[in-house]
Structure formats: structure tokens, C-alpha cells
């Protein structure tokens, strides 16, 4: 049985989305959100949306991770949930 690659990427996307909202460290949450954006970028490439993949890799995974890390360094990385 051959599993299509987009199904594997979809499972990885759902796992990383759930992990990003359940970890109890905000810095880990930001980094997992960057990994989530990179998996989405892979999915856009598989689905033929190459321009969306470019934008997701630079803006979604790059700039938003930098924003999150900068905001967490200005506040706190501890949280209860």
C-alpha cells in the first residue's frame, strides 16, 4: 500500500498544530508554529501552488517566527496552559 505524500503532510500539520497550542513553554510554541508553517509550505508545493509556497516560507515561517520570538523576549516565556 502506497500512502500519498499529501496525506502524510496533512497528518504532520495537524500534529504540529495541536502541539503548538498544548506545550507549556511559549518559546517552544513559537518554534513549533514555525515548523507548522514549513509543513504548510510543503503542502502548497505538492498541491501546485508554488507562489503561495514561496510566500508561506518567507513571510509565514520566517517573519512571523521572528515576530513571535521577539515578542516573547519582551514579555515572558512562562505560562500555565
Amino acid at each position: 500500500m502506497i500512502i500519498p505524500i499529501d496525506l502524510i503532510i496533512l497528518v504532520l500539520i495537524i500534529i504540529s498544530a495541536i502541539a503548538a497550542i498544548t506545550v507549556s513553554d511559549l518559546l517552544s510554541s513559537a518554534i513549533i508554529l514555525g515548523a507548522y508553517s514549513f509543513f504548510l509550505c510543503l503542502l502548497w508545493t505538492v498541491m501546485g501552488a508554488v507562489d503561495v509556497a514561496f510566500t508561506e516560507a518567507t513571510v509565514g515561517a520566517g517573519v512571523s517566527t521572528v515576530f513571535c520570538v521577539a515578542a516573547i523576549f519582551h514579555t515572558t516565556r512562562r505560562t500555565k496552559d
Binding site: 496525506l7 498544530a17 497550542i21 508554529l33 501552488a49 509565514g60 519582551h74 500555565k80
Partner: protein
């Protein structure tokens, strides 16, 4: 069982879209930390983008660039049948949505930093307690 699996796999993008939408909505409503709420908002936005890109997808279609459109191989006529290409209109709309999403994320994080400077915490219940006191 086999039928159920193939039914789920045929519309896997839309199932994943619904799951991601619910994960983002859950994080925005239930989570107590402001940054966790913002992370939920980002997941919600990307789920909507996944829905729109899935609309334009065609099985067996190629990326929306005309084959031999540069006239390099002039023996073969440029294939301009729309059936052969993935629909590029949702892609262009979602390109704008990604950039707007990052701008929204920047404004939300800036507001979270101001809230932290004012109240010294990012937890919503502690902020409510300090507002009432």
C-alpha cells in the same frame, strides 16, 4: 471499512481544514494565555487558506504556467486548455491573505507587549483580577 477509508482519503484536505479550524477556535476561546490565543488565530487563518487552495486543486493538473508558452519548442502547439492547469485565482487571493495575516499577527503581538508592560502578566484571569482591583 475500506469504503470509509477511501471516503475520508478522497476529501482529506477538507477534513484537515475542519480539524485545523476547530483547533484554532479552541485555542482562541479556551486558552488563558494571550500568546496562545494569538497562535490559535494564526492556525485559524492558515486553515482558511488551506480551504481556498483546496478549491482550486485539480487531480492530474499541472502548475499554472503554459506548457511551451515561450515558443522554444515551436513544433508543439502551446496547450492552453484550462482543464490541464490548476486554477490560479484562489492562489492569488490567498497570497494577499498570508501577508494580511502576518500584519495582523504583528499588531496582536504589539498589543500583547503593551498589556504585559501595563499589568506584568500575560494570563487573562490575572489581568481581569488586576482590572477589577
Amino acid at each position: 471499512m475500506e469504503q470509509i477509508l477511501s471516503f475520508i482519503a478522497a476529501k482529506a484536505n477538507y477534513w484537515a481544514y475542519v480539524i485545523l479550524l476547530m483547533v484554532g477556535l479552541y485555542a482562541m476561546i479556551v486558552k488563558n494565555n494571550l500568546v496562545k490565543k494569538i497562535v490559535g488565530m494564526v492556525i485559524f487563518q492558515t486553515a482558511v487558506i488551506l480551504f481556498y487552495v483546496s478549491i482550486g486543486y485539480k487531480t492530474g493538473g499541472t502548475i499554472p504556467i503554459i506548457i511551451y508558452g515561450d515558443g522554444h519548442n515551436s513544433i508543439i502547439e502551446p496547450a492552453a486548455k484550462a482543464v490541464d492547469y490548476i486554477n490560479p485565482l484562489p492562489h492569488v487571493l490567498m497570497l494577499t491573505a498570508i501577508v494580511v495575516g502576518v500584519a495582523t499577527l504583528g499588531v496582536a503581538l504589539a498589543l500583547a507587549i503593551k498589556v504585559y508592560q501595563e499589568y506584568g502578566t500575560l494570563e487573562e484571569d490575572e489581568i481581569n483580577k488586576k482590572i477589577r482591583a
